[in-house]
């Protein structure tokens, strides 16, 4: 057995080696084709290369690659294809896609589906003069229509006997869950009217096509037949017509008209089947290979993940119990065993968690894929010349996060093309290449995934943003003058803020950036912007790897337990109250010559000599590239937390994004850092006159606090 595995591994290694050579040959063939288009010898050699690749991939079980190269090989066999102008492009694209696929196989990652290439290949093959296709349809004609020969015979015999035969075309109701049973029902209904001479698809077929045809010899009128066939919840559309003479021709025309209008209403999966079975190039009669891919409802995976979360809580409970045991009796005989077992369990749990998470992970390529088209379309609308460069598309991200950022990301890309990139004349004037470039990039950084959208346009005019912010009353002009560029740029994420001179179809209506921001906050991610005048703008989305489990730092404020994502924490500093200084209306701490704004989560200390000596912990965090210090009472350590979502009834503030349960049953609230900072910034610019503190205090606590503070000042 292991010998076999070894052999397989060895073969695969050989495959990757030879495949690399084949791809090189493919690229060379494409280059040559550009020089001498439609050279039959070059086309043949490309086809041979693809053929070998197909066979080798199949032998190693790389189904996607083998199928795609198979399709390409078939397309290349068509005479029309070799004369096709885009053949070189398709070959280049094929080389790229195949390379990606190989890389994915090698790293056992998700294989790109190559749908773009497939579309290109199909286009090659779909040229009207395609030799094979015409031959195929020729034979089809000579064989007849969808009826079998015997059915045709029964129909013509019935017609010859002077009976009237009605051809009934029924479109099954899209809601009808069991098309096969539906066919059966229709058959029985029509049988009551006369003789059912023919049926397509045949009764024994397992086809789930949505269009069913019957030929019924009956004395009833067409209307009566239609009425009988219109079974509620089964048939959505019925068309009946009287057959005359040769059955075949009428049927052909009828089936064509029957299929066309139904296509849009069929649900997506059925539509696929439909289009496959009607694809003239699809190998006829080959049953679908069983896929080695399971389609699972995301909810089920979430359930598993939830249970894994519960297990992690269980692990903490055990750990807690063990700690208590050891505290009671440090030399307990089973302690060692217990520790070993716990260690083992922790490892397995870790693997389990990672495996489940991996199920949810998909490459961002799934999302990036749509952007070439978006860029092309928007560029066309604006009359600009823009290319899109995508990198890091194999970076994995939680599927639900990926789905959620689709819209904000689209907005950013549209904005980049519409506003970021200058018009062709401006670019020429600025001495830049006429073609603008949008870059989409994704990569892992620590426990986060970074998605970047950058353009090489004119950048954001900081001064205009500053002026606009003052104009819109978001900030006073004195304050505005004091803000640095990064701080100014943050205004573009304010609701209703737009610097675009005019409203265009593409963007510039002042909605969007704030939506981007709020979506990112909801995901516990951040967005920031980096702009250099004349060189371009980069938007950087920082996203958590997953939404379900975080590594968190636990701390206490006013006896209550809180947590923040560990990856937001830059360092933990210890200090004393006397080190905290007040500047304007907020507190700062000088940490290694850097002035750090502080956010006091609990109540401020009363004035007094013993109070100033009080030690405190400062958690230095970065949110959206800005550093803050959180003043907390005490630290509790780090822990993996399974986030339990809180509904709006449970909590009325956006400062808390979720909660979790500790091993000992304690509840910990997870802070939404972005919202905390937001609050902080808002109250600061509002200039309430008092030091911001007690963010996390209850209303009652805060009321008491402001009274005492007022008393203190007075």
């Amino acid at each position: 057995m292991s010998g076999k595995d070894e052999r397989g591994a060895e073969l695969r290694e050989l495959f990757f080696e030879t495949a690399a050579e084949l791809l090189q040959a493919l690229n060379e063939g494409a280059l040559q084709l550009e020089k001498t288009p439609a050279d039959p010898e070059v086309v043949r050699s490309i086809r041979r290369t693809v053929h070998t690749l197909k066979g080798d991939a199949a032998a190693c079980g790389y189904r996607e690659l083998s199928e795609l190269s198979h399709e390409m090989e078939d397309a290349l066999a068509l005479e029309s294809a070799s004369a096709h102008a885009s053949l070189a492009d398709v070959t280049f694209a094929a080389a790229d896609v195949f390379t990606d696929m190989l890389a994915a196989y090698r790293r056992s990652k998700k294989v790109p589906d190559g749908s773009t290439l497939r579309a290109m290949i199909r286009k090659l093959a779909a040229t009207p003069s395609a030799k094979k296709k015409t031959r195929k349809s020729d034979t089809k004609k000579s064989i007849g229509s969808q009826w079998t020969e015997y059915e045709q015979l029964t129909i013509t015999t019935a017609l010859e006997q002077g009976r009237s035969v009605v051809h009934v075309t029924v479109t099954l109701d899209p809601q009808c869950a069991m098309p096969i049973a539906g066919r059966q029902l229709l058959h029985s209904a029509l049988k009551n009217l006369g003789d059912v001479l023919a049926q397509y698809p045949p009764a024994s077929s397992s086809s789930v096509g949505r269009v069913v045809e019957f030929a019924v010899a009956t004395t009833k009128t067409i209307a009566e037949v239609s009425a009988r066939a219109k079974i509620p919840t089964v048939a959505s559309k019925v068309k009946s017509e009287l057959l005359e003479g040769r059955a075949a021709k009428t049927n052909k025309a009828a089936s064509a008209t029957a299929i066309a209008p139904t296509a849009p209403v069929v649900p997506a999966p059925a539509l696929n089947l439909e289009s496959v079975s009607h694809d003239p190039l699809a190998p006829s009669g080959t049953p679908h290979q069983p896929e080695n891919i399971l389609r699972v409802d995301a909810e089920r995976i979430d359930n598993v993940l939830n249970l894994v979360g519960e297990l992690i809580i269980g692990k903490s409970m055990l750990q807690q119990a063990l700690n208590e045991l050891v505290a009671d009796d440090p030399k307990h005989p089973v302690r060692g065993k217990f520790v070993d077992a716990m260690g083992f369990q922790a490892r397995v749990l870790n693997d389990l968690q990672r495996s489940v998470m991996k199920i949810r992970m998909v490459p961002v390529e799934q999302l990036f894929r749509r952007f070439p088209r978006v860029v092309r379309d928007v560029a066309r609308q604006c009359g600009k010349d823009v290319s899109l460069v995508i990198t890091g598309e194999n970076t994995d991200l939680d599927k639900s996060i990926l789905d959620t950022i689709a819209e904000p990301l689209t907005h950013l890309v549209r904005n980049a093309v519409g506003h970021g990139i200058e018009s062709t004349t401006m670019r020429t004037a600025a001495g830049k290449p006429v073609q603008g470039t949008i870059r989409l990039n994704a990569y892992h950084q620590a426990n986060q995934v970074i998605v970047e959208v950058s353009d090489d346009g004119h950048g954001i005019d900081v001064e205009r943003v500053r002026a606009k912010a003052v104009e819109q009353g978001l900030i006073s002009s004195e304050e505005a003058a004091r803000l640095n560029e990064t701080e100014v740029l943050r205004f573009i994420f304010q609701p209703g803020f737009s610097t675009a001179q005019e409203v265009t179809e593409v963007s510039g209506r002042g909605v969007g950036m704030d939506v981007v921001q709020s979506v990112l906050q909801r995901l516990k991610g951040t967005v920031d912007v980096d702009s250099r005048p004349g060189l371009g703008t980069t938007f950087r989305l920082r996203l958590p790897l997953t939404l379900a489990i975080i590594k968190a730092l636990l701390f206490r404020v006013e006896q209550r337990l809180y947590a923040i994502p560990l990856n937001a924490v830059v360092e933990i500093a210890r200090s004393v109250e006397s080190e905290v200084h007040q500047v304007d209306h907020y507190e700062v701490l000088t940490l290694r010559n850097e002035v750090l704004p502080l956010v006091r989560l609990g109540r401020p200390v009363a004035f007094g000599s013993e109070a100033t000596a009080k030690k405190l912990f400062v958690l230095v965090i970065t949110v959206a590239e800005r550093k803050f210090g959180l003043i907390v009472d005490s630290l509790e350590g780090e822990e993996e937390l399974v986030i339990k979502a809180l509904d709006d009834h449970a909590i009325s503030t956006d400062l808390v994004s979720g909660a979790s349960i500790m091993g000992d049953g304690r509840v910990v609230l997870i802070l939404n850092l972005a919202a905390v900072i937001e609050h902080f910034a808002r109250s600061r610019s509002a200039g309430t006159g008092s030091v911001l503190s007690g963010l996390l205090l209850s209303h009652a606590d805060r009321a008491r606090m402001s009274q005492s503070a007022a008393g203190g000042h007075a």
Binding site: E17, T18, D56, A58, A59, C60
Partner: protein, 368 residues
């Protein structure tokens, strides 16, 4: 026992590694060399003098077809084509068989999951090729009959005199071509053929036969009528049965599981013909490995039908006919060269009376 010495010719480095691995899992096979294209292949052929060659048809430089031609001309040795499923794969494979290739093995697209199955098939065919009498491509006789323009639109109500069922495997494509090309377009019987061949090949096979034969040849579809002057070839990976219906008789295709390890299986067709048509059945078992069809031939015999086995001399592999003959199921044993005229005689003339009695049978048996 002396091992079978095999030369593997394939342009894929992977295949040059994989094929020896899988066929050498059988102790009686030894791969003596590999070659990456036709030129090397021919040189190694001279040098190593193998018993059997496995040949990939798609190669740069000298193509597989050119190499096959050269082998057959200068150094005849059994060649097994390792073929792939592509639009042209079937066509070129059938061409190779026409040029004298012993047989072929198709690499399905899910080859990796069916590796052991393919290995078994390849090993069996290599062994059969090594035991065979070398290669003897019976030259095709000149076409006896002109193609008829009208054969595309047959009269659906016509009734055949007899139902001829043919089962054939290795060596079949050439043998069938030989027999069918000698039948006239107005052949009074109807013919159904089970040729062991994977799906994707049978359609092309039927088309090629249809182009070169006077009689109509088509890949069967369920519900196709059994008409005089028509040959229905069972599609790969399905079974074919026959059924009498009120207005005529039809072929029915099913997806039942494999019989004797085959789908299509000759036994399935033969048994069904025996059940439906009894003494009106003429069953012919032709060249091929194994014993598929032998029991079915017995069933036809028991039902009072005519049973014919191809003789040893004209078989590429005398396996299936041998099994039938040894079990006493074959009423007649005939050479390929006279098979067409035998069928013609059986289906027409004095036998064309639609008697269902067994009277004629003993007389025919007596002729043997």
């Amino acid at each position: 026992m002396k091992p079978v010495r095999v030369l593997v010719v394939d342009d894929s480095a992977l295949m040059r590694k994989l094929i020896p691995q899988i066929i050498e899992s059988d102790d009686s096979i030894q791969v003596v060399g590999t070659a990456m294209d036709g030129n090397f292949g021919l040189r190694k052929l001279e040098e190593l003098n193998p018993d059997v060659v496995t040949l990939d048809l798609e190669m740069p430089g000298m193509s597989g077809i050119d190499m096959l031609k050269a082998i057959m001309r200068h150094h005849p040795v059994p060649v097994i084509v390792v073929s792939s499923h592509s639009t042209d794969g079937a066509s070129v494979t059938l061409k190779a068989l026409g040029l004298g290739a012993f047989d072929f093995v198709a690499k399905p697209n899910d080859v990796s999951t069916r590796m052991s199955e393919i290995a078994q098939e390849l090993i069996a065919k290599i062994k059969a090729a090594a035991q065979g009498k070398g290669i003897s491509v019976t030259p095709l006789p000149p076409a006896l009959y002109k193609r008829q323009a009208s054969k595309a639109n047959p009269d659906l109500a016509a009734v055949p005199t007899r139902v001829v069922v043919i089962g054939v495997s290795t060596g079949g494509p050439n043998a069938l071509q030989y027999v069918l090309s000698q039948l006239p377009g107005d052949f009074p019987g109807t013919i159904l053929v089970v040729q062991h061949m994977p799906d994707g090949f049978t359609d092309m096979f039927a088309r090629r036969l249809n182009e070169t034969c006077a009689i109509q040849v088509k890949e069967a579809q369920s519900g196709d009528l059994l008409l005089p002057g028509r040959v229905l070839i069972c599609p790969g990976n399905r079974h074919m049965k026959v059924k009498k219906l009120p207005l005529g008789s039809v072929a029915i295709l099913t997806d039942d599981s494999r019989v004797n390890g085959h789908r299509p299986s000759v036994d399935v067709l033969f048994r069904s013909a025996a059940d439906e048509f009894g003494s009106l059945t003429i069953a012919v078992i032709m060249t091929g490995m194994g014993d598929d069809g032998a029991e079915g031939l017995g069933a036809v015999k028991a039902a009072g039908g005519m049973t014919i086995a191809q003789n040893e001399e004209s078989c590429v592999v005398y396996g299936m006919p041998k099994a039938a003959v040894e079990r006493g199921y074959a009423l007649r044993v005939v050479a390929l060269e006279v098979l067409a005229s035998t069928l013609q005689a059986q289906c027409s003339g004095d036998n064309s009376s639609r008697d269902r009695g067994l009277g004629g049978r003993s007389a025919r048996a007596g002729q043997n």
